[in-house]
Symmetry: C2
Subunit: 412 residues, 2 copies
């Protein structure tokens, strides 16, 4: 069953702003087998909103508009939709009272502009917006279900539960079947070559590889008829064959980040980590502390961007720095040992490298990174060459280090 | 003059992937006065590509498609466009030779699939792709200029120069006039209230405020007839009135980030900074080192996520931690002094706070952050309360600290 999304807002046509709501909406729609087949982004202009709406309603069973329900003069989605469908707008008493209460409580005056938000097209049902003054709207138009939703994510996201309920009530939707695998420390081409021959034997499963620097996500969607037993069985079989093939580079089959997995594994094993970062400049610490409660297993660390900090705070010896340079095996080794010893953490994790764009030589090119991992019995260093921009190299180096920590904790 | 963008790719309709190329394209098109009036995102499917193309060509003078020019079976943009416009596809000898050379050098075999990339619709001109095997294409269709571009950003972005040249050659485009101001350490509502009364007196200037946690960007576009002298004069007047109103919270009128401005100011003054981060966990160091060459003025620092690291690496006294807690004025003060003294940097910058979502109390709620700034003559601490999610609080705290450093260096 097909769905379409129309994001409304002139700011979404500037060089600095993207519609991101459609990602959240797509995830929810996919839950009940709806596939998003097209997205429009249009400005706050009557002709474009109307054109997109007519095109979408012709072809899709579910259509959602995002934005343009606010109180200001450029918010016109409600009015344009009503006009396009030939439905009159009338004030809804319950919505008017709700707005009055809301404004009284906040100590603001209710203006005529705000009252526009209580207008409802003939035959439409309001959707409750717990976090804002603009209610959503639900309309049936021919075979299509049409939803008008507000633009701010914190208003829109909780309202998607009501949308899903309406869809389930009015359409014969299927459950959808999907699986995922997330992989670190592997290039897309290696993963592609490994999985290509396997997933070709599952013609009813569609595979997508989403890549970001250092992390790959493999998504498997069942696209055939929805026979639950068969779909689940085949998805599980494909997933487990691929997991075997990809080995310990698979870090989860759930919707969670590597930083969360690392945190969980450390917490479960009762161990802690400290970091010593040169080229990543704090990124690895930032990733670890993106997880609430990370203080349980992350002590902190040192960002030793200058050589003197490597010596003063981590005890790297000057001789190694002079003979081998800051980007070298011995320095990565001493950084990892130094941060472990000075913090008393179970693991010391270090990164030193050349993130570019300048500073590379033929011997030590941009992308060369040494990663050190130290625990009480052993300290090892990996030498890696990461492709991409400064940002990508720093991301890859950080994820690679965290993934090595994960594999080490799991096997130690 | 209006432009439209059609992004092609089934992966762009999944819950995890957005078309980001259109931001770059929009920025370039705006340079010559072209406004993007609509964006489509469609899958690799004939009907949707064709539908979007026909709708766009009817209404816009410049249409760009992104993606679907690759060698695999799901890349069909070239073929669908040719069919929709009724133009035959023929192999272009120069492109065939280019592909042969490219593949021979890389040691790969040229397959029939790859050869498809050398096919050109009747009357189209190829656009050189320096970073990939898929050439772009330029076609005139009625009053419209149509460009087919490859999807990978590193291929597409350099090709936009050729696109801009074609547009300037075939269309009477105007120069466009715009200005910007970037602001830190201010909330959107404060900025909105300050600038609202001023920009109302410039009806021919459209103002957009782009906000991200901790940073606001004000964009001013001239939307009237393009009389250069008048446009530039009014934009400059508006910009300078707003800059006066917003004072030293304006950190640039250029397209540069706060981390770059801080870096430039430190470099120019020959001074350096070191950081002591608790709740931001390395984010501030990451931001500073996003700038190539930041080692000139950033020495590094300590991520003291645990209390013991605050004591051991920064010399915070245990008594202060016990009496006032880690999130307190005295601890922020001692962290700033400690990192400055242990590194010898000119400035020590510290952050300690409660990023949430848990860990807040009525006395010390989520969002409470102390920021310390120390130099040889003085150490000061600011107490702030930042709204939003864990991520937003960490961003706001980091930008606020960097902005305070900027203002201090400028006036010291």
């Amino acid at each position: 069953m097909r769905a379409e999304i129309i994001a409304v807002g002139t700011e979404l046509l500037t060089p600095s702003r993207l519609d991101t709501n459609s990602l959240f909406i797509t995830r929810r729609l996919n839950e009940c087998g709806l596939r998003v087949m097209r997205k429009f982004v249009v400005g706050d202009r009557q002709e474009e909103i109307r054109g997109a709406l007519e095109m979408a309603l012709q072809e899709s069973e579910v259509v959602l508009t995002i934005g343009g329900l606010g109180p200001t003069h450029d918010d016109i989605t409600r009015e344009v939709v009503s006009a396009a469908l030939g439905r009159d707008l009338a004030l809804d008493d319950a919505l008017v009272n709700g707005l009055k209460t809301r404004f009284r409580r906040a100590g603001y005056q209710l203006t005529d502009n705000n009252l526009r938000q209580a207008r409802v097209p003939e035959g439409a049902e309001p959707l409750v917006n717990p976090n804002g003054s603009a209610p959503g709207l639900f309309l049936k138009e021919g075979k299509a279900l049409l939803f008008l939703l507000p633009g701010p994510p914190r208003e829109l996201e909780p309202m998607m539960d009501q949308v899903m309920e309406c869809i389930r009530k009015h359409k014969q939707v299927s459950q959808t079947f999907h699986r995922r695998l997330k992989v670190a420390s592997q290039s897309e081409s290696v993963v592609d070559a490994a999985v290509g021959p396997i997933y070709k034997s599952y013609p009813q499963i569609e595979t997508t590889i989403l890549s970001s620097p250092g992390i790959l996500e493999l998504l498997f969607y069942w696209v055939g008829e929805a026979d639950q037993e068969m779909a689940e069985g085949q998805l599980e079989e494909l997933q487990s064959r691929l997991a075997d093939q990809l080995g310990d580079s698979v870090f989860t089959d759930q919707e969670e980040g590597l930083e969360e997995v690392v945190g969980r594994i450390l917490r479960e094993s009762g161990q802690s980590v400290a970091t010593a970062e040169s080229c990543t400049g704090g990124l690895m610490g930032k990733m670890l502390t993106d997880v609430p409660g990370s203080s349980e297993y992350y002590q902190g660390g040192v960002v030793c961007y200058s050589n003197s900090l490597k010596v003063d705070l981590l005890g790297v010896d000057r001789d190694s720095l002079e003979r081998h340079g800051a980007v070298s095996q011995p320095v990565a080794q001493q950084m990892a040992v130094g941060i472990r010893e000075s913090t008393g953490a179970d693991f010391g994790l270090s990164v030193t490298g050349i993130a570019g764009p300048d500073g590379g030589t033929s011997e030590k090119p941009v992308g060369l990174v040494f990663i050190g991992l130290s625990h009480d019995k052993d300290t090892q260093v990996q030498e890696e060459r990461f492709p991409g921009s400064r940002e990508a190299i720093r991301m890859r180096a950080s994820w690679h280090a965290l993934d090595w920590l994960r594999r080490t904790v799991l096997t130690s």
